[in-house]
């Protein structure tokens, strides 16, 4: 009898073994889009003052706060007429002070820093050959010696290298002598013969600027771009050689990303100070590479110096994996920034969501 009691007791223990439950929490914050002045250089304004239909705008961004609607967006910044009119952080612990992995949006910041480097005469010109800067990194293939800085800025080097390789071989294996490693890859086309989106071309620029100035890319960015913009809290990862990863691996606050967008919208000027020449901004955000030859102009997406240009120049974009975006819409004097979960894969529905929300935000501008 006692044995049965013991067994029964033990059985009960097994049955209640499901006790102890980790509480599931809300993922998203309450709806809040009010901009806050934190003394980082942004002037705050209201939606109505800057010509938005507030009701339409609020309806546009409401899905981002819907707990039942999983969208990977973690923050949204909207600036118009040079003023921050809305900011939203949809994850409670990922607020305005947290840096985000901006992925390939980094490339466009590299592009701006290279523009500064030209102004400072660190390079002789766009057609300067990379071989003249780092001859020790080249192999015996003479055709590679024709690679110029322009080819690097337009992803036109012809080097056979895909992004998966750079991720695995460079990041994972902590490759030393990255420039030499990249340049040892064979050519699939002659330099200048075709656009090919990948990460190795910006990386060679990072190596080149380090070689020319003795300073890594991030130091030049900090001195001539970030400090004047009031960007103090950022992290830019470097490779084993001490070169900043120029294609990704920059972490910034969303508000600081919006400053970059505003700087480009203002043709290089921030609070009255010309940080980058207007000519460079114009040139780098105009079509330099056309990967969609043959498509009608109203559907053709092209590339500047890493900037992505929507058909007819409707928008200039800095895009990163997962949905990180700086959108500049010159006609509306508008900057929109999204940060998203940086590592979530397979979120193809995100593009649809962002497209819908972005269009709705643009349409909420009334004048």
């Amino acid at each position: 009898m006692k044995a049965i009691k013991l067994i029964t007791s033990f059985g009960l223990i097994i049955l209640i073994s499901g006790f102890g439950c980790v509480k599931d929490e809300k993922l998203k914050t309450e709806f809040n889009i009010e901009g806050v002045n934190i003394g980082d250089g942004w002037q705050i304004s209201s939606l109505a003052s800057e010509g938005f239909n507030e009701v339409v705008f609020r309806a546009a961004v409401m899905p981002l706060f819907d707990e039942n609607n999983y969208i990977t967006v973690t923050s949204l910044i909207v600036a118009r007429n040079g003023k921050l009119v809305a900011e939203a952080y949809m994850r409670d612990f990922q607020g305005r002070l947290q840096k985000r992995q901006i992925q390939s949006t980094t490339k466009c910041i590299t592009s701006l820093v290279i523009g500064i480097a030209f102004e400072k005469n660190y390079f002789t010109g766009l057609d300067q050959k990379l071989y003249n800067i780092m001859p020790e990194a080249f192999d015996e293939d003479l055709r590679k010696r024709e690679i110029t800085l322009r080819h690097l800025l337009t992803m036109n080097t012809g080097l056979k290298f895909n992004n998966e390789e750079i991720a695995e071989e460079l990041f994972m294996k902590k490759q030393e002598n990255v420039n030499k490693y990249i340049l040892a890859k064979p050519l699939f086309a002659l330099p200048g013969s075709g656009f090919n989106y990948r990460d190795c071309d910006p990386q060679l620029l990072s190596g080149a600027i380090h070689k020319q100035t003795g300073l890594p890319l991030d130091s030049i960015a900090n001195r001539y771009l970030f400090k004047p913009l009031g960007i103090t809290d950022y992290y830019w990862e470097k490779n084993v050689d001490g070169d900043s990863w120029a294609s990704e691996a920059l972490f910034m606050r969303p508000r600081d990303m919006a400053k970059i967008g505003q700087l480009v919208l203002n043709k290089g000027s921030w609070n009255g100070e010309q940080l980058i020449s207007e000519d460079w901004i114009t040139e780098s955000t105009s079509t330099q590479s056309d990967p969609n030859v043959g498509q009608p102009p109203d559907k053709k997406v092209t590339f500047g110096y890493y900037w992505r240009i929507q058909p007819n120049g409707v928008a200039i974009e800095a895009n990163g994996a997962g949905g990180q975006q700086i959108l500049i819409i010159p006609e509306k004097n508008l900057v929109i920034v999204y940060t998203c979960e940086p590592y979530v894969q397979g979120q193809y529905s995100l593009a649809t969501s962002l497209y819908t929300i972005t269009n709705a935000i643009i349409n909420s501008v009334t004048n």
Binding site: L6, S17, K23, D24, E25, F93, Q310, Y343
Partner: protein, 302 residues
């Protein structure tokens, strides 16, 4: 003004290093062959299992009456909340394998146990992930009281290594979120063997001292080498640090029932409840419920 749509495939053009799960696991296994980093851990485990009965013989030679080798088939239910990733609960079930060795005498029990499991995880948005658990521990229990009717109370120290690797595949396929601990503390055990051929026991373990390894707040390394087994072994011991009760709390309850089916052979079942919570660098809670079916091979003087 129309904001022109863009090609969605193109939109994700710079997503790097995406691999299907099958590819990832295949590469991990392939690399294991190459590096064989798991061998030292296995050797330590095997040596420990061997040392346990030897220790029993040397220190308690006259008292050791039985030795047990226990094989367990666990069914695991995991609940995880990893705020480094998102404040969501991930739930899942899995299975694995457990092996333990016990040497018992009238006044002392030495027990070395190892359990390993793999579980699937899912959050409320139906995104998937995985959890890999390994636990290795040694418990020394001294008899402190006999309350009659076969009831015995044991008390002694326990030392334990637990490693948990969470991989929230659909949420973050670039990082692992580990939670590994080295714990030392008391173990209190109640055992009842008043019925011939049956034994039931209940154990509570509460660590006093713990070393914990967790990922850093900002995982700046964009592409860690997830396909290299050495990365996992390295990570789970990264920046090990002493923690206080303010930052870390854990306990473990084990209920065990065994029945002798014939001489030298026993079967039984166990329930293990493991709770771990750490505030570093952000709140993390893991609750593991394991129900095990056990087979015991007994050896000894009895």
């Amino acid at each position: 003004m129309a904001y022109n749509s863009f090609d969605m495939t193109e939109y994700f053009i710079d997503i790097v290093n995406y691999k299907t799960d099958a590819m990832l696991f295949t590469q991990i296994i392939f690399n294991m062959k190459k590096y064989l980093f798991f061998i030292p851990t296995m050797i330590v485990a095997i040596i420990s299992v061997c040392i346990s009965p030897v220790a029993g013989q040397t220190t308690q030679e006259a008292n050791i009456s039985e030795r047990f080798l226990k094989f367990s088939l666990p069914v695991v239910h995991n609940q995880v909340k990893e705020n480094l990733n998102a404040p969501l609960r991930w739930d899942g079930v899995g299975s694995g394998l457990g092996v333990s060795h016990m040497s018992t005498g009238p006044n002392v029990i030495h027990e070395v146990s190892f359990i390993m499991s793999v579980s699937g995880l899912k959050n409320r948005y139906k995104y998937k992930g995985y959890a890999l658990d390994a636990s290795f521990g040694y418990t020394l229990s001294y008899k402190v009281s006999s309350a009659g009717f076969g009831n015995t109370i044991y008390l002694g120290p326990q030392i334990r290594w637990d490693a948990r690797i969470n991989f929230f595949r659909d949420w973050d396929d670039s990082h692992i979120y580990w939670f590994s601990t080295y714990e030392f503390g008391p173990s209190l055990k109640w055992s009842n063997d008043q019925f011939e051929k049956q034994n039931i026991s209940f154990t509570i373990q509460l660590p006093f001292v713990a070393l914990v390894s967790r990922p850093s707040e900002n995982q700046y390394i964009d592409q860690p080498p997830l396909i290299k087994p050495s990365y996992y072994f390295k990570s789970i011991n990264e920046d090990l640090g002493l923690v206080t009760i303010n930052n870390y709390f854990s306990f473990r309850i084990l209920a065990d029932y065994s029945y002798q089916i014939k001489k030298g052979n026993m079967i039984g079942s166990s329930w293990l409840f493991d709770y771990k919570s750490c505030k570093l660098p952000r709140n993390t809670t893991i609750i593991t419920n394991i129900v095990m079916i056990n087979y015991y091979k007994t050896f000894g003087k009895k």
